[in-house]
Symmetry: C2
């Protein structure tokens, strides 16, 4: 679905106003193969926006399922396109301890585990930490 759409079309299809901040954020995220933090996105963005605007833009985009949020520990938040085409519904994320990058592991789908009696799950956060391919090659 998103694969063939541009930021404007994505916003339109979600009934969101096409503001330059939102368009920019989507564009930057689309152009990256990694999940990006607020600051990384800001740095790659053309315009300059207030922190609050950023904050609210992310909130809106996440609520509209245009973007999804990946949290690593309590100090790192990254965003990636919530591309229903390329991403399975529930996939794992990989965090590289060396380069601090986060990628969606589309190949690693999450199977809901059997929970203790009486519990029910609605969402699963699965973050695998380790060393990514690039950093491993660098270390050799």
């Amino acid at each position: 679905m998103f694969a063939t759409m541009n930021p404007k079309e994505i916003l339109n299809s979600h009934n969101l106003k096409r503001t330059s901040c939102r368009e920019g954020i989507i564009e930057v995220i689309m152009s990256s193969d990694k999940a990006l933090s607020e600051n990384e996105i800001r740095d790659r963005l053309f315009g300059n926006y207030d922190r609050t605007t950023f904050y609210r833009s992310f909130k809106t985009l996440v609520e509209s399922s245009i973007v999804h949020k990946i949290v690593v520990d309590n100090n790192l938040v990254k965003y990636a396109l919530d591309n229903q085409l390329t991403h399975k519904n529930e996939h794992a994320h990989f965090y590289c301890n060396e380069c601090n990058s986060v990628v969606c592991l589309e190949s690693v789908t999450i199977e809901k585990p059997a929970l203790p009696e009486g519990f029910s799950s609605s969402e699963i956060d699965f973050v695998i930490k380790g060393t990514c391919k690039l950093c491993k090659e660098k270390a050799e």
Copy 2:
């Protein structure tokens, strides 16, 4: 191992000084079946300690693998005893959206998934979000 030890012994066995803050934290965590946040622990603690002391105590206890840290999204941090006896090495955690409690799911062990070629993992964060048994019963 820990099951039969008291806070003093635990600290001794890790070559940590037996300070009242550390002992208190361990005691409070030991006495709870749920993971506890910094504030929850502070409230149940006898003495009064500076925020910095708390912060550094947790850091020390986590680094010594006496306690482990569970992070839910980017706004909730809880601590649980890292009991090598009762807890499997890598287990999942459950976060209840209703009562905001976090428990270790010792029955849900994490199997390391097959990663893309070149990646290696050292640690896995697995948080299942949903409704816990108690909250479900309450809703009926």
